[in-house]
Symmetry: C2
Subunit: 419 residues, 2 copies
């Protein structure tokens, strides 16, 4: 079974809107072991949409179309699908009642055109949209599913998760179990070396290495006709993979490292303070991305100038002079000072050269010192990150979060595969 | 003339890699008035790539393929194109010499397979890659250009900018002039009302409204057979549009507002300090995104707890009690305190409710107070931003940057279309 995804919309075809809908759908379907064969993008043009649909029905075993289900005149997907498949639009009373109910609840005056969203191609099954007025639609055309989804990302994602993925997964007739282990602090090649041929012992399962500047995610997907067997393979794969890479795993599934750090802080009843130079507030921003972070994030210092390092967190002016602002003693004093001045249990300090200028032979661009201070003690580490100013800053913040996670968990600070 | 873009790569088809290459190419070609008719994505499979290429040659006037030009076994684009077009691969000595030269300069031992990148379909024109070993290739197949670009974004972008866009633009036979005015602080509907039918007076030119949470960009593209006429229409459009919306324009082209603020600070010889609560360091991070920002960014306070607001920048505890942390007096004292404690000319304070919890009837989620303090005086504004925790924080930071820009330029603080 191969599915084709068709994205519809001038804003996507013009490159103004990144097609995150496609990426979401493709990832969700891949995890459910529904293979994507093709992806096409067309503008809001009847002829192009019809052509893409016919072609997809010709070569794929199922089609998912996203976009063009809204109430404005350029939203023509429903109409084009109806014409192309010879299934005239018919008013669906239940959908209409739902639209009117939603309009009433919103208290806003909605344009009459919105009721056009209750006109559905004959024989379509309705998948109710929990977040909007345009439902998802399923049409079986010669046994091939044709699925229509709205282009608004949240609505598309809700419908894909609730209906599309389970439905297509069911149709593949195979059982699927998957899990993801998120690692930080080691390279893909090191993981590869450590894991070796392990996956060969997992019948029907594959291991994907997914690197980004947040680290390397390891995703295992087990599939097969026998659900019990698939489950047991996945369970064994989880145990064996964890035994090999456990020391560098910071989370499972889609959880971000700042959430893991936040939960550990709450669990210990600790608070945290940051002192950042080269990351300029990025670490504080990430720690406060999580809702409810005021339970553990006390304050942050963005100590960009040398004067601010001394005045705000008490970095010694002599050390700044002797070792430079980018140095181990300064990072340590940033962490220690942040912790002491804020009166909290955990302090972290970052100082480095994000570039593109400011590097030297001794301290090239990408050199970053990160220090942690807690009741367990103090430690500082030196790193050399590669990339642009942006990725160096991102990697520095991610590495600091991993150090904090290790400190909170009572683990050795250095990411090592063999522990 | 309609062009088709084909993205090649399993990592894109699986949704793991967002197709930013397509978005970049599409935007660049749109600005050059080269219309994109279709976009397709296929995996690293010979049959699928060949099929997509044949189909594109069938329906489009030109094809751009990205990806699959690297040295690894799954990079098969050159080979498939050679086979599909009946143009056997031939060794290009100049390209080979370039590859060897680059390998030597890098000082690294490169795999022998990298020399396979010098095998080109017969009759291909070489566009040298300034950043890597895989050159861009142009093949004219029955007068239709078939263009091959590497998938590494920086290399693709460099080749697209230097060769692809000018080449295809030339082929369209039309002259193009375009410009973008970036606005902040007003809604698309307000701009629409103010601009009205103005573009109808610009023969051959179109105006696109491009909203994001950084504001609304206005892009004008003038095209036509007569280059002089096109230029004069664009010049007039620029003058007329600027006259209507000038007061809310913060930049032209692709410049970010933090760069504009940074340049104004340098020009005045001023320094800045930030005090942020709900944005948690995001404003400091944006101000320090720009290389060289240490020339004007002195320090930042992330005053998340009430205690930190009082201790770090001297917010009055009584005001915190009486008005709450999210209030005009607290925002003012954050701005004033940041400026005074850092000993700089410009201070900015932000306090608000980013959500998803913590809202009340009087101060719902999205309520944000932003204050500015400078030798010109002090001011505070109240906003209500819509969206998720993330977008509320992004909008608050963007609005703060626009207030700073206005303060630095001596403009009235409030974004108003009619000056």
């Amino acid at each position: 079974m191969h599915v084709e995804i068709i994205t519809i919309g001038n804003e996507v075809l013009s490159g103004r809107t990144l097609d995150t809908n496609f990426a979401f759908l493709a990832r969700a379907l891949e995890e459910a072991s529904v293979p994507i064969g093709w992806h096409s993008t067309v503008g809001d043009t009847a002829e192009r949409i019809a052509d893409a649909l016919r072609r997809a029905l010709d070569r794929a075993d199922g089609v998912v179309l996203t976009g063009g289900l809204g109430p404005t005149p350029d939203d023509i997907t429903r109409k084009v699908v109806a014409t192309t498949l010879g299934r005239p639009l018919q008013l669906d009373d239940t959908v209409l009642a739902g639209i009117r109910e939603r309009a009433k609840r919103s208290g806003r005056k909605l344009p009459a055109s919105i009721e056009g969203q209750a006109l559905l191609p004959r024989g379509a099954t309705v998948w109710p949209n929990p977040l909007g007025t345009a439902p998802g639609l399923l049409i079986l055309e010669d046994e091939k599913p044709v699925i229509l989804l709205p282009g608004v990302p949240q609505e598309m994602e809700a419908l894909a998760t609730a209906f599309v993925v389970p439905y297509l997964r069911e149709r593949t007739g195979v059982a699927v179990e998957s899990f993801t282990l998120r690692t930080a602090g080691v390279f893909e090649s090191q993981l590869h070396e450590r894991i070796g041929n392990l996956p060969q012992g997992w019948p029907g399962a594959t291991l994907a290495y997914l690197p980004s500047y947040f680290g390397v995610d390891l995703r295992v997907t087990a599939t097969g006709p026998d659900a019990d067997l698939v489950r047991s393979v996945a369970t064994r794969a989880h145990a064996e993979l964890s035994a090999r890479v456990g020391p560098v795993v910071y989370a499972e599934g889609g959880r971000a490292i700042e959430e893991v750090v936040g939960e550990a802080l709450v669990a210990k009843g600790w608070h945290i303070a940051t002192a950042e130079s080269c990351t300029g507030g990025l670490l504080a921003r990430r720690l406060t991305d999580t809702p409810g972070s005021s339970r553990y994030f006390e304050r942050g210092f963005v100590t960009y100038s040398n004067a601010s390092k001394t005045q705000l967190v008490g970095v010694d002016a002599g050390d700044l002079e002797a070792h430079g602002a980018v140095s181990a003693p300064v990072a340590e004093q940033l962490a220690r000072g942040a912790r002491a001045r804020a009166g909290v249990e955990l302090g972290v300090g970052i100082t480095g050269i994000a570039g593109p200028d400011g590097g030297s032979e001794e301290k090239p661009v990408g050199t970053v010192f990160i220090a942690v201070s807690s009741p367990r003690g103090e430690a500082v580490r030196r790193y050399r990150f590669m990339g642009t100013r942006r990725t160096i800053r991102e990697r520095a913040a991610q590495t600091a979060l991993d150090l904090l996670r290790r400190e909170l968990a009572g683990l050795p600070l250095d990411a090592k595969l063999e522990g």
